[in-house]
């Protein structure tokens, strides 16, 4: 149980932190208008020059290895829905770190998602 909680902590906090860093890097690269392979490759290479991108990748890797560890002894249909707790972390992070405005309806949706996660946790075997 304690190990599960630690692994979920890494999945949620490191995974969300990593996505926020990647999002920050993406926003500074700019919107993609050209979807041809060469343009997409140039876009990826450009994003890899940004420190935020690498920090995001490192944090997401930590979250990924925690996910691998927990999948070795827990059901996929339990682990993945519980990791949806990252929605709450993501919303707070997006507001504080990216300065995104989050509407009341979006907060309500995120709260409902969290209730769903709680119910899934009760189904733990």
């Amino acid at each position: 149980m304690a190990l599960e909680l630690v692994l979920f902590f890494f999945i949620v906090v490191a995974g969300t932190g990593g996505e926020l860093c990647v999002s920050r890097a993406m926003k500074s690269v700019g919107e993609v208008h050209d979807f041809r392979p060469r343009s997409l490759l140039a876009f990826v290479l450009q994003s890899l020059r940004l420190p935020w991108m690498w920090m995001g990748i490192a944090l997401m890797a930590l979250g990924f290895f925690s996910l691998l560890a927990i999948l070795s002894f827990q059901e996929v249909s339990f682990v993945v829905p519980v990791s949806a707790l990252s929605y709450a972390a993501g919303a707070f992070g997006a507001k504080a770190f990216l300065g995104e405005r989050i509407s009341r309806n979006r907060w309500i949706g995120i709260a409902v998602v969290c209730i769903g996660v709680t119910i899934v946790w009760w189904s733990r075997k």
């Binding site: 700019g30 919107e31 929605y87 309806n105 309500i108 709680t118 189904s123």
Partner: protein, 141 residues
């Protein structure tokens, strides 16, 4: 056509792709990891012992390939849509993961777990009714 409608037209197909690729990747990872037994040790020698076996698993690489496809789709989405919109919207994948876990891994999903996943999807529906970008015209068409 309004700016918000144009954003939805290019955002929704990519969200659908990520809703399938992400769960499929996790299902393959789950199938691969179950073959090694419980990894319950945080000791470096134990992790170094199991790491090469994990890296040689076809299911793990299949899972990583699907998750990379998911990651690229996700990156593209994040160039124009808010993170706080994209992340909850792609959580429709929780319905997909339940169905795939049942069909491909034989996991028994209890009624309580189906209820939880349904509530998550309802939350996603509410989030999906909000505009993808809160900064309006600032992101361009």
């Amino acid at each position: 056509m309004t700016h918000t409608r144009r954003l939805h037209l290019k955002t929704i197909p990519l969200i659908l792709i990520s809703v399938i690729l992400g769960p499929l990747g996790n299902v393959f990872l789950g199938k691969g990891m179950k073959a090694f037994g419980a990894v319950a040790s945080a000791k470096i020698p134990d992790l170094l012992h199991i790491a090469p076996r994990i890296l040689l698993s076809g299911y793990i690489w299949l899972g990583i390939a699907c998750l990379m496809g998911f990651f690229i789709t996700h990156m593209l989405l994040l160039t124009w849509a808010d993170y706080s919109y994209v992340q909850p919207a792609t959580s429709l994948s929780y319905l997909t993961i339940s169905v795939l876990s049942y069909l491909l891994l034989g996991e028994i999903i209890s009624p309580l777990r189906w209820l939880g996943v349904s509530v998550i999807c309802f939350g996603v529906f509410i989030v999906g009714r909000t505009p993808p970008s809160s900064s309006g015209e600032a992101h361009g068409a």
